[in-house]
Symmetry: C2
Subunit: 230 residues, 2 copies
DNA sequence: CGTTCGCTTGAACTAATTCAAGATAAGTGG
DNA sequence: CCACTTATCTTGAATTAGTTCAAGCGAACG
């Protein structure tokens, strides 16, 4: 079942059976309780992780103490390939938001794997590059777009990532506070609350305590893409 | 002299003589006139570049036509390692802002180099990772900090990168319009102009047409870091 | 010498933040 | 089961940082 998990993860998907079993058998299992940290910003990058169960939050904290969420991590996400680089430090926090389990490889194991399966090196480059491109897009959004549109995009992304179909809509299957959405989109909890309220009045979403259900994806997409609101 | 250039570039710095000469002799030289593009967003990522002479701008353009500058590139900067990934597309534009020359490797050459010199694979991962971390920092800045502070940081970075000492200060050795600074910091040319004017009145900088000279680095740093303005 | 391009500055406007107060919902313990 | 406590969310009102628009200046350039 470990190899199943690895298959679902972009980093390992489609690799030779032999590579997968080698990786799977070299992995250790680590459990982290909700609220605890897999690692902290500034720690030596000692381990590479593939989340097996639970959810976690990648975030940075500013010198003034304001938090910025760089990503929400679910099962089959790979995190921390930076551990392949000798001497590197983690650039952000990875905090479990629920009780979580992850497969993990330490630096030495990772190096052995990379040496005996060179394709993993190219995969690592591919993964970091694609994250880089995503981050660039978010940067451009933040630099040029209004809060409402950024929030719309964030919700669409989350629905795509962890949406659970339900009567009358798709619910984001994560406890997600207004504050979290604010830190994810670079705004304040008040603006998020106001915007969600407006969308709820318009019948685009339904929402409650730490919960958002998307009812009218087409209209939210129209907001995200600035299409005519016909 | 090609190997000299490579040595000054992070990607190749400190590698074995043999690797450097292999890379240098496999490279082609490409000339691009000011205003022309090395590559455009969406083009197949066919070449890896190390800029030898001139300057260039990495930028994205929004669907609405607003430009965001992701970086300013000078001699000895490596760009486009994404060409090592089969099937990848360039995620942004690289436009020469002056007549420029670059060493370049096409995909096939790059693969041969990477295969015969495995250290280059790790270097690639290291380079992308470190750019990723930088971008994360800029993202956090954009999400949490005011324009003045972001502008201060941008100028300090540029001074560090391409500062030329001069009587009474350090000048950014690049034609740099207010508009460029705006696109670099996610604001408008008007706000940049007002902020620079205020700094000039305060004696922190001197500035003119497409030119900025930093006179009082300490005070600008104080603004960037929000230190007491004693 | 006139035109262009980049820069400055004022004035009006607006999106978003901040602060404050209260409402709602979810636990907690008696 | 109910009162108490705590955390999340909502909403109004005041404020502000930054944008947008408009007009004009001044240096560079053909």
């Amino acid at each position: 079942m470990r190899t199943d998990l690895l298959c679902r993860c972009h980093y390992f998907a489609g690799l030779a059976e032999e590579t997968l079993t080698a990786a799977a058998s070299a992995a250790q299992l680590r459990h982290v309780s909700g609220g605890e940290f897999f690692f902290r910003q500034g720690d030596p990058a000692s381990h590479f992780y593939v989340l097996a169960e639970g959810h976690a939050r990648l975030s940075q904290i500013t010198p003034e103490g304001r938090q910025v969420i760089m990503g929400l991590i679910g099962p089959a996400h790979a995190i921390g390939i930076i551990a392949a680089i000798p001497g590197a430090l983690y650039p952000l926090d990875l905090q479990a938001t629920q009780d979580s389990q992850a497969l993990t490889w330490n630096q030495r194991t990772l190096h052995m794997l990379l040496e005996s399966h060179p394709v993993l090196g190219l995969r690592a480059l591919r993964m970091v590059s694609s994250r880089f491109v995503e981050l660039q897009d978010r940067y451009r959004e933040l630099a040029t777009e209004r809060v409402e549109r950024r929030l719309a995009r964030a919700i669409l992304r989350l629905v795509a990532q962890v949406g659970r179909p339900e009567a009358g809509g798709v619910t984001i299957a994560l406890p997600l506070a207004r504050q979290d959405l604010a830190e994810l989109t670079g705004t304040t909890l008040y603006t998020v609350s106001r915007t969600l309220s407006a969308w709820e009045d318009a019948g685009i979403i339904r929402s409650g305590r730490e919960r958002v259900t998307l009812c009218d994806p087409a209209r939210l997409t129209a907001i995200a893409e600035d299409l005519p609101t016909a």
